[in-house]
């Protein structure tokens, strides 16, 4: 009896205290049954810190409710993490976004509270709740709407990890691949002869430069619209080095219209060095490697115009190309130039194949500088790539065989095996 009375008094005091703060916020108990709903917080694993993830478990009956998550730090500052989440979404992350810089700081204790409601939460209510230093869990009424406050989570501290465990498969394969490369490098150093197959377009480089020289026309080398940080552009620059060496040997002229200024300066260095190596530094003219504009179609217009006026005898399109690929290649064709193209953009390859005399497809282009130089050290990396291809093929075949046993014959062991394999591949 005494206990009940005390509880009643406590309840009254509490509701009065709530009441006195705000007319419409009323505390009720057990009007909105939410058994089985609780929220937990934990540091997000494998991240650089400043991130906490909040999970909740819930009975199906709450599927369609909304959840608002509030955060309190150890100094008593409250803030709203997220409002009106669908309960069925199970998780929210308290992390910094592009619009809002990091709000969670590493090493500070945070406590999270969830607010369950059947309707979306009222802005005014949110402001009232934010002001409170502590919310008792239970059911409340505000403007005739009931909502339920969960009990606070334990303290959560965010921390940065020193190693991303989910990337272990990548690390392992990186180590394997490093060994494969080093093995072949050693092989090359010890003097073993390494073979490289014929790559069609590349044998034509000499012919293209030669014919162009005979006709007294310049060569045009287009590096596409990539940056120096893009591998295809770098590959294009390495091919440029070999091509300009030929150009210097034939004593003709090479034009390199560029899209990115850093690519332009790098191309200038490359051509200058190639001319020097060929013993003709006097032929190098900085102004032949010029900047056009960093605008995709402005660049296409400029290069098209230049092609029409300079009438190059050979056009190289090597690098990163997007929609402008065919604009350039068709114009090149219409002036009757020999065209050797190459890119890694699979969407553009069909157009190059249709409009150019020779096309280096994807990896062929990456291997081109090796092919043109044929140094043992360079060749070794190609051999290593091939060995990795064998690995990949075996992996794919293994996956297929396992799936036959797993799905075709319905064998549980293989199903597990297949799941493991697939999981390992998900980075």
């Amino acid at each position: 009896m005494l206990k009940r009375t005390l509880l009643l008094i406590l309840f009254l005091i509490l509701s009065i205290s709530l009441f006195s703060e705000n007319d419409s916020l009323i505390f009720l108990e057990n009007q909105f049954p939410c058994e089985g709903f609780y929220i937990t917080g934990r540091d997000i694993p494998n991240d650089g810190g400043s991130g906490i993830e909040i999970n909740w478990s819930f009975p199906d009956s709450l599927d369609n409710c909304f959840l608002t998550v509030l955060r309190r730090d150890e100094f008593g500052n409250n803030s709203v993490v997220a409002t009106d989440l669908l309960v069925s979404s199970k998780q929210v992350r308290d992390v910094s976004s592009d619009e809002e810089p990091s709000r969670v700081k590493d090493g500070i204790k945070y406590y999270y509270t969830g607010i369950l409601s059947k309707k979306i939460i009222d802005e005014n209510l949110l402001n009232i709740l934010k002001e409170k230093s502590y919310l008792k869990n239970g059911t409340y009424i505000f403007n005739n709407d009931t909502f339920y406050v969960t009990s606070e989570t334990d303290a959560v501290i965010s921390k940065a990890s020193w190693f991303n465990l989910s990337r272990i498969p990548v690390l392992i394969s990186l180590i394997i691949i490093a060994f494969v490369f080093l093995y072949y490098l050693n092989l090359a150093k010890s003097g073993k002869e390494l073979y490289i197959r014929k790559i069609n377009g590349l044998d034509a480089v000499e012919e293209a430069v030669g014919r162009s020289t005979e006709m007294g026309k310049p060569i045009m080398y287009i590096l596409g619209i990539g940056y120096v940080t893009d591998i295809p552009t770098i590959a294009g620059l390495t091919i440029l080095s070999r091509v300009s060496k030929k150009v210097a040997e034939y004593e003709t002229k090479i034009l390199v219209p560029s899209y990115d200024p850093v690519v332009m300066t790098t191309a200038q260095e490359v051509v200058k060095e190639a001319f020097t190596e060929a013993g003709r530094p006097d032929l190098y003219n900085k102004n032949d490697i010029m900047y056009i504009t960093q605008d995709q179609f402005g660049y296409a217009a400029g290069v098209d115009g230049m092609m029409m006026r300079e009438k190059p005898g050979a056009v190289f399109l090597q690098g990163l190309f997007f929609a402008e690929s065919l604009i350039l290649a068709e114009t090149g064709h219409s002036i009757g130039a020999i065209q050797i193209s190459g890119t890694t953009e699979t969407a553009q390859l069909p157009f190059f194949v249709a409009a150019c005399d020779y096309t280096l497809i994807g990896e062929e282009m990456m291997a081109a500088s090796v092919y043109l130089q044929k140094e043992p050290m360079m060749l070794s990396s190609i051999a290593a790539e091939d060995l990795l291809k064998v690995f990949i093929m075996l992996l794919i075949i293994a996956g297929f065989v396992i799936s036959i046993f797993a799905f075709g014959f319905n064998i549980g062991l293989f199903k597990n095996l297949f799941d493991h394999l697939v999981n390992a591949l998900q980075v």
Partner: protein
């Protein structure tokens, strides 16, 4: 033989000229290639045609911008016109600021064309059709509308109080809306599906670009959406269906675009066939 030689040495400029004509002519003289309507398009059409009583409400979501306008604009026009023809009320809503301009353009166009071809049954802005004012918040807006549409927007896109508009009579929330057709090329479609359909049971149709269409097929299978218009083709099919009713005289943008597409494709194929014939004749002659 002369012809074969001509084809073999064909100047590209002939190709350019004919292609340009193939595309321009359908604009000046619409051809109207025959077209089969597909079930996802037909089911939206049938729903508006048969399942909504007179005075019912169709909500159209205009969540696109000029970049996908070519495909989605014709959809907005034709669905709005269809709804008006059945004496339904049409509300446009947009979750993005650029969408407002798109929706206003559609409303202007549809009203003008409707009143031109149906002077005896004129439609009015504010009485039969309007645009709800843009309010920031995306998913919050979708959710609030489920509670109270008037409170969510207050005004229409032209600055009028919604509570004073005849078109809003009796509309409180999604319960009073018979069908929503969401037009977007982005994932905002999912926001509507999850919140408006998932939580409030709003009946929905989707209109999206040809590229995104594949992505949303699963929502048709799961019956979350009653139908879908995919790309220019979907819009053209709908125009075709509405055209059979002969009540609306507006320009059929999608059908014209589709005509231009079809004639261009046919031209491509003829070109390739001609090229091959010429190639083989020449090869045989040289072989002799």
């Amino acid at each position: 033989m002369k012809f074969i030689n001509f084809i073999n040495n064909l100047d590209k400029r002939w190709i350019y000229l004919i292609l340009a004509l193939c595309i321009i002519i359908p604009f000046l003289f619409p051809v109207g290639f025959p077209m089969k309507t597909t079930p996802p398009v037909k089911s939206i059409y049938d729903f508006i045609e048969d399942s909504i009583p007179e005075g019912g409400v169709v909500l159209i979501g205009a969540d696109y911008d000029p970049s996908t306008m070519a495909e989605l604009h014709p959809m907005a026009k034709v669905v709005a016109a269809h709804a008006l023809s059945n004496n339904l009320r049409v509300l446009f809503v947009t979750l993005y600021p650029q969408g407002a301009g798109m929706a206003q353009d559609v409303i202007d166009n549809v009203l003008r064309e409707w009143n031109k071809s149906n002077p005896d049954n004129p439609k009015e802005l504010g009485k039969d059709i309007t645009l709800l004012a843009y309010v920031p918040g995306v998913s919050a807006v979708v959710l609030k509308m489920g509670e109270d549409i008037l409170q969510t927007f207050n005004e229409d896109g032209y600055g009028n109080k919604l509570s004073e508009l005849e078109v809003m009579k009796g509309i409180k929330n999604y319960n009073n809306i018979n069908l929503m057709v969401e037009l977007a090329g982005s994932s905002v479609v999912l926001t509507w599906l999850i919140y408006a359909n998932g939580r409030y049971g709003l009946k929905m149709g989707i209109g999206t670009t040809a590229v995104s269409a594949a992505e949303y097929y699963s929502y048709l299978q799961s019956k979350q959406a009653i139908g879908m218009l995919g790309g220019l083709k979907g819009a053209a099919e709908y125009e075709h269906l509405l055209d059979e009713k002969k009540v609306y005289g507006g320009r059929k943008d999608a059908s014209i675009g589709m005509d231009a597409q079809s004639s261009a494709h046919i031209f491509f194929i003829i070109l390739i066939i001609l090229g091959n014939i010429a190639y083989f004749v020449k090869k045989r002659k040289e072989g002799k």
